[in-house]
Symmetry: C2
Subunit: 336 residues, 2 copies
């Protein structure tokens, strides 16, 4: 009978005597890797009651019991390290990227505003904001450097902005460079999220789009958790404040959370948004489950959703009529 152990593979007779053995080299890392692969394959494990210590001594793998225990300790420690290092799953990496993107967005916006205000004293007529302004400043610095073939030349020449001193120009250029660097970082992160989402969750990406899908995974914590959410939860994810206000007081329940950014919802007229959100959330939930449990791309999902949304819109062509005020008896006041 063949037996695989953490220190070697043995050929054991029916009475438990060792007929032949093939010991592994004594490197900690190699032993740890072998023990991990043994743990996952579970092939030829020793039978119940088999004395591994005695076998290791008998084969001459270790000279004493204390050596056996100290070696086993080191190998299991190393194996645990190896396992930890594999704990960063693809969806964890997407979550990290989404969180980094959120940070970048926030900082880029605040620094862009500062740049706008700061440069506004020197060239208030530019009409540029955000990345365009940062690129303009990196390119020209002072408005005096705008060449005659630039569309902003006339505005720059006749601007009522102050003269930009050399020291301030260097400062503003550097600041604008940092802002540009953040903008390009944003694009890089978005591209990464898009390609990773296509690989990790193709169905979710088709239905929700890469950025919204990634955001849903990020809020849920992992694709597994998102797949376990009921679709009603997916519908209001991200609308925490409105949801708790609804649960606590008499506020209306939120119709949509982060899924509002989906074009099916935000291009719909307001009176069908709730219905579309419900249909979309149901399909997102389905897509996440397919992605997590089978990882095959289901091409019919998107068509079904489009059909459903089309029907909802067709069935509700006009806004609902407002309830007439003052009809019937007045509302009862809730007792406190």
């Amino acid at each position: 009978m063949k037996i695989n152990t953490w220190f070697g593979s043995l050929e054991v007779g029916s009475g438990g005597e060792i007929l032949a053995f093939d010991l592994f080299p004594k490197g900690i890392r190699e032993l740890a890797l072998r023990s991990l692969s043994l743990r996952s394959s579970r092939e030829n494990l020793p039978p119940e009651g088999f004395d591994l210590k005695a076998a290791a001594l008998e084969c001459g793998f270790v000279a004493s019991l204390s050596e056996y225990y100290s070696l086993l300790h080191e190998v299991t420690l190393e194996a645990a390290k190896l396992q930890v290092s594999e704990a960063i799953t693809p969806d964890q990496r997407i979550v990290q990227a989404v969180e980094a993107l959120d940070d970048i967005n926030e900082t880029t916006n605040s620094l862009s505003e500062r740049l706008f205000e700061w440069y506004g004293g020197y060239f208030p007529e530019s009409g540029l904001v955000g990345e365009a302004l940062a690129l303009f400043i990196v390119k020209y610095g002072s408005r005096e450097n705008v060449p005659p073939d630039d569309p902003l030349y006339l505005k720059a020449r006749d601007s009522m902005g102050a003269k930009l001193e050399t020291a301030d120009e260097a400062l503003l250029k550097g600041f604008a460079e940092s802002v540009c660097s953040l903008y390009s970082r944003r694009k890089q992160l978005e591209a990464y999220i898009e390609s990773s989402m296509e690989a990790l969750a193709p169905n979710l990406t088709t239905i929700a789009g890469p950025m919204l899908g990634a955001r849903l995974i990020s809020i849920a914590g992992s694709l597994e958790k998102l797949a376990a959410f009921p679709s009603s939860t997916i519908q209001v994810i991200g609308a925490n404040k409105a949801l708790f206000k609804h649960l606590r007081a008499r506020a209306p329940s939120p119709k949509h959370g982060v899924i509002y950014s989906h074009p099916f919802i935000n291009t719909s007229p307001w009176w069908v948004r709730g219905k579309v959100a419900r249909a979309l959330a149901a399909k997102i939930s389905l897509a996440a489950r397919i992605d997590f449990y089978s990882a095959t791309k289901d091409l019919s999902l998107m068509g079904e959703l489009e059909e459903k949304v089309r029907k909802i819109r067709a069935a509700n062509p006009k806004p609902p009529q407002k309830r007439q005020e003052g009809r019937g008896k007045p509302k009862k006041k809730r007792r406190k």
Copy 2:
């Protein structure tokens, strides 16, 4: 009698008749510049009741009254623009730089934390934070690239962090580059503020240091406003929350605001900090006034302050004894 007008200089006889004239060229900008310099020099202004319109017509500067008015309109508009463009004073520029620095600090901290958390999954043992971590990531990326002569080599080799995929490595390197760019921006801004403060407010810079001085100007809004503040205000600037709590409720009055960052205060034992803060605020107020009104460097200020602080510390070598509890009659409760 010589008369300077916005369109030229005239030689006028005692009866008001024009004997000779020297007209300026008809460029709007040149005329505006001349009218501004005339406004500040106030030399040879026309006497009361002198008819400028008639003189301009008589000299042939304009052909009609309507031309006179339209030209005057354009020139005064241009002069106003020129004045606006000179409205960014040196202290305004420092205020802008301080505000930009605050934004940079905030964003750098939040992105650094994100980088630390993100890279922590791949090399938790690095022990690096902030700029050092960002520089490390830009240099090496994955911990596998750390060469044997780097002090972190052993830690990197035996790390239990996950393996860094190529796509994630590019992402992390880019993120770290942006963080480095922000760190270098911070240094650039600090250097700018230091050199500008030395030029604008040498006494304030000597007493408070460039960064604290710039912050005080920034909070006050300008050097002029800071010079107008009583020293008791300077003492608690930046401690708004504590001050209003003190004014509203029975909280103790704050001892120091942003001036707490001055080494005289934060290296003093706690029981003299209030006294030192009062002395420091008085000298800061004095320094700001000298800077604004005379702009000469007063070398005796710092010596006086050092002497004062030394005396305060010598007179209070020990913490005050706490009041014994339960002595005498109980405190009266305030009626509401």
